[in-house]
Symmetry: C2
Subunit: 76 residues, 2 copies
């Protein structure tokens, strides 16, 4: 389960970021997180904490529910 | 922000658990997580990782979006 939920979440964060027309640097700066860490999250390689996830959502100005519908039970 | 989002999340997990009529032991066993850790999560004292949160949701048979609507931007 772990790898699957992290890669779905990462894909959605990337989608949301690119919808904003942002680079990973833009998101990293807005969220106050290291750029390479953002790259790892988007590739599903980082098991981020809840507060880091909230920082990312706050930077993307989106609700956490928007990024997590269907997780963990109905992954597309 | 951190303390606020963790306590909202913890409260909602507790609410969902008690709706199921479960004790913390029941949830801990079903999620494969230590009972005292569940207590800390419910009190908003644990900054849990995304995969641990998914384990809790899977045990509660709920969607992560259900526990996270309004987080981080519209906390009640």
């Amino acid at each position: 389960m772990n790898k699957a939920v992290l890669s779905v979440l990462g894909r959605r964060i990337r989608q949301k970021r690119t919808q904003n027309g942002w680079t990973q640097e833009d998101l990293a700066e807005n969220a106050g997180i290291d750029r390479s860490y953002i790259g790892g999250v988007e590739r599903g390689e980082r098991n981020l904490t809840f507060t880091v996830l909230c920082q990312i959502c706050e930077a993307l100005e989106c609700d956490l529910a928007e990024l997590t519908s269907g997780i963990p039970g109905n992954l597309e």
